[in-house]
Symmetry: C2
Amino acid sequence: MTVSKIDQLENLQTILKQFKDLDETMTHYSDMLSLAGWDQQVKAPSKGKAYFSKVRGTLSTELFRLGTSDQMRRLLDALSQPEIQGQLDEPTKAAVREHKREYDKNKKIPETLHKEFTIHTANARNVWEEARKDNNFEKFRPTLERTVNFIRQYAELYGYEKHPYDALLDNYEPGLTVEQLDGIFSTLRAKTVKLLQRIRNSSDQPRDVFEGSFDVVQQEKFNLFLLPLLGYDLDAGRLDVTAHPFACTINVGDVRITTRYFDNDPKSSLFATIHEAGHAIYEQGVNPDYEGSVISGGVSLGIHESQSRFLENMVGRSEAFWERYLDDYKSFFPGKFDNVSLRDFYRSVNIVSPSFIRVEADEVTYNLHVMIRYEIEKGLVDGTVEVKDLPKLWNEKMREYLGVEPPSDSSGVLQDVHWSYGAFGYFPTYSLGNLYSAQLRNTILKQFPDFYDIIRRGEFATIREWLREQIHTHGSVYLPSDLIERVTGEPLNPEYLVRYLQEKYSDVYRLQD
Amino acid sequence: MTVSKIDQLENLQTILKQFKDLDETMTHYSDMLSLAGWDQQVKAPSKGKAYFSKVRGTLSTELFRLGTSDQMRRLLDALSQPEIQGQLDEPTKAAVREHKREYDKNKKIPETLHKEFTIHTANARNVWEEARKDNNFEKFRPTLERTVNFIRQYAELYGYEKHPYDALLDNYEPGLTVEQLDGIFSTLRAKTVKLLQRIRNSSDQPRDVFEGSFDVVQQEKFNLFLLPLLGYDLDAGRLDVTAHPFACTINVGDVRITTRYFDNDPKSSLFATIHEAGHAIYEQGVNPDYEGSVISGGVSLGIHESQSRFLENMVGRSEAFWERYLDDYKSFFPGKFDNVSLRDFYRSVNIVSPSFIRVEADEVTYNLHVMIRYEIEKGLVDGTVEVKDLPKLWNEKMREYLGVEPPSDSSGVLQDVHWSYGAFGYFPTYSLGNLYSAQLRNTILKQFPDFYDIIRRGEFATIREWLREQIHTHGSVYLPSDLIERVTGEPLNPEYLVRYLQEKYSDVYRLQD
């Protein structure tokens, strides 16, 4: 008995060592993929960019091979046995869970289909770009039809219990379902449309205080002034410039962000920077012991977006925040805000204005943009919507939910890149982030009843520490739904976002009850 | 018969396809290693740097594994058969040759030895840094003794015909031998020491025209002005700042260089930039069809250095070059060179001054620094020199060849990083570059009798086109010795460098015959 137990133990140690080596190799490849992606967008010279796609293809293929290898299967089988699971620590259990989910999913897709889809989407992106440039949906239609066919096949192969779209949602937010989203979105839509109506009817509309031109160098200097105060560690990151802002993790000591500058719209770089900092602070805060493992990154797009939206909207667009920093901001742009009060400024950065473009949408209308995409995607996947009807359907929904209709397909159904690369099921995570962030805010307000005083004193570090302990440090150890329940004491509840928006915008727009 | 031939052909096509796939995968990994190395030195934030070493370790290990795999052996065996070789085009033959050399070398080293050596050198670098900082050779001695032991083992395992050092030279300059170098260096040393003596005795010493402080921003602007005029394509490269200048190839469309700036020494960034541009123009000029293959880079360190030294010294430090660009240079530093004539400037950038530090050495004394290292390395490898005697030996040779003695081991025997990572056999390639460049210059002067008029008119592009056709475009297709014979019509001949130096410095120092 004793000998056998030692044998088992030795065997387990060997298996664990092999699993950790494989996990580390895959994480290193994945980190190199991130670096290559970052460099391609930020630093690579124009003539060198195309080659990066090939190199990334080679690394992706190798990553796929390792993740679906016989060795991986053997290790996952061994480590999934109930009597072994009991002996694993939480981080190892989570790493097994993450690799197993990927393995199971990837194994369901025949290699030929995977290759066909990869080639198709690489091409589809160019077709989409052309179609958008020419404002010609018909040009994109046949390609999108093929994409939808692929997506339907994928959903069937992945498998699902109730709705094929569930299989796709699970790619981006493990465990999320249509049933759940339908419930959440119907509450949120009804209340948002009503709130929006009241906002539009308000007789006290805020004025835009950002007039004229704002030196781009000064905009960047303010961002670099603000970032450390928000808790973004510039010794473990960088701020660069790209057309589309993003955050990129190379490792826990190297989480980079980008922003963009418009001299006639300083709000754009300011809030994009705060938003990306929210993502990056999450990743900088992961337990360094998880370095080199699949669990060393944020757990899902939804939780990620909750961190960026919380920082951008609930902190960065709060009156308390600007009570602390408006004088600093003014000092970077002498003469620009001489007659602007705190109240004017606060109201200006929270103007609600239904527009055609999702990425420019305000806090109130943003989720309506997401819902339109969700409903269309769901219909395309279950066959109740056809690609050819999209322009008409899009515009109808825009009119119904937002009260505006885009003047062209380029600023309508063709505006987002996601469909071109087959990312169906991604959009809902944006709203999920908003929902999570409001629910977290509610918990924070209970934990820190003086939350806005803390912000007002410029002591966001206190809140960041709490977020780190509660969320960031865990990386991907807990599944998103488990994490949110652990931290807030209840499952996702859309009421918190509804209430937050009603309270805030009743104040900003001085709405009557 | 016919069927069998078709079978063979199909078989060859299959083997070629597999070989090219493997070659491409390895090249992609190698390019990612370059990118990671570049980023670690140039862009990574301080807290992220350490992780890069681990990721690079993972990629290196995989690269080693692929290069010594059974699949590689099988493919190389098949493609090395004489009847198959006859059917291969030159680039493929060269790729087979390059992979075979690596395979054969690596297979000779037992994996345990390779691992021990890797761990030893990783540690040795830190020991060397400490020892240099503390000016304490004894601190480095035991480590260097172990390194030399490793190096001797490697030389024996690699194998050699006449001298164990040949086995090491071959790592950096395929085919180069002690016999060849001894002959070349004895000629070069005798004539250089004599020339140096005459220079030191000259009664007409040039004056240093670089006085005071030079705005670093302006220095960088001039570099960016000059680079395209030299033929460096900024759309296929970048200029960044690092402590030690270097060139780095990601792919043929992305060859990056770095430089460093001192406000009291603008020559440093200027000539470092021209030097690195020489390396980069070589790599930017490789036939784009070789993309994704081992042959897509320059063929050897010696040929590489010939391109950088030619551009830096024979073009960038020529009087004709400054006849074209001195007015431009002056315009970047208003008031700094008001009383400086072309002649003064030209003489100033060619001041010969024996110093302790190799990397700061002028054209005349540079090779003497290299020879000292060569003689010491050769002795360490064949056992006629012992590590404990190095400080004494170093200083003796400095006195003998250069007439100066370093005031400390830090500025003497401890100055170079190379030995700390076990790079024995590397130094001679620096001189080889100088020798090749002078021999190439001789051919260019025959091809373009108006060479200096071309430079004077700022038409270096003409020369670069010739270099591209003759050298750059071939990548690693021809072995260095074959290439130099193809282009210049004869094997390496040290007379050209001797003559060039004598002519140039007779003029700069107005030497009497």
